[in-house]
């Protein structure tokens, strides 16, 4: 195990940074590099790609807004979920990032510092 090696302090941090950095750059470059070598992107690749943005964004967002609790009430009466719902409605009506953030943060603060305080 790498973790059992006597790598400590700053060296440990730099090893982590460099390896994560190389792996991440590899992920970023992967298909951008590959598609320069092939003429036509196969339909089997392009069709699923259409669903990548909504799927990844939803999988990133929802766990930050919803935590499953023992009861439905406890799950729903969560300041993050309420703020997320308000922000989602604003995003849908306006399609503006700034308005979405402002509505979400204002709702979060309202419930955290006033309603649930």
């Amino acid at each position: 195990m790498t973790g059992a090696l006597p790598v400590s302090g700053s060296a440990r941090v730099w090893v982590a940074i460099v390896i994560i950095g190389i792996a991440t750059y590899g992920f970023r470059l992967s298909f951008i590099h590959l598609f320069g070598r092939i003429d036509e992107v196969p339909a089997g690749v392009t069709r699923p790609l259409r669903y990548v943005p909504p799927a990844v964004l939803a999988a990133l967002v929802l766990p930050d807004l919803v935590s499953l609790r023992p009861t439905v009430a406890a799950t729903l009466l969560d300041e993050r979920l309420i703020a997320g719902a308000v922000a989602g409605a604003v995003a849908w009506r306006t399609e503006r990032v700034f308005a979405t953030i402002a509505a979400g943060m204002a709702t979060l603060w309202l419930f955290r510092f006033v309603v649930f305080a």
Partner: protein, 244 residues
Amino acid sequence: MDGDPTDDGLADGVPAEGDGTGSDLWAGVRDVSPLMLGIVPFALVAGIAAVDAGLGLAEAVGMSVIVFAGASQLAALELLGSNAPLAVVIGTAAVINLRMVMYSASIAPYFADYGRRLRAGLAYVLTDQAYALSIAEYEENPERSRWRYYLGAAASLWVVWQIGTVAGVVVGAGVPEAWGLTFAVPLVFLALLVPAMKDRPTTAAGVSAGAVAVVAAGLPLNLGLLVGAITGVAVGLATGAVVE
């Protein structure tokens, strides 16, 4: 083109695009600027978390420059701070960043005509936000210079990310945690998600991915994100096949 050993990736491979002025670059800078409201607190938190994990300024900035991927940086810092094995730190960060492969595949067709070096440089600054903005713009305004627009957005994010990290390290834990400024991060993703669900199959993809990610949030190594995303793509494909 790429098989040609004389291709230096610079002289050729950048077709004439846009109007050749800086307007496409500035369009990227302009479109990404509202997102900075979500990025600045995120970068500040990355700096604060680095201090919490015992990193110095050089290490914190080194991480933001070399990794340049916020969610994975925060996860790695948390694990480094709790003395997790290096393999776990690296593995977790890598899994979180696996989604970059999907972005790379999605945006690659738009960069296919460019030279090798330009593509290598564009890949370095690929992020959730630069990807989402660019893909949307390419569909709406096909006449744009794709790499200039993308670079305007992506390089702006890079600069703000580095400055924000430094500010976070310097400020330390000065911002009260109760304010929950990091909540601005999911709000940014939400603002990008809603317009991405534009018809029945894409909506089905988003709803199913989100539901699975919530249920799978307890999985180790942040696998819930990947499992949710893969489920969403599968459901989107199935719904698309039925609708057609």
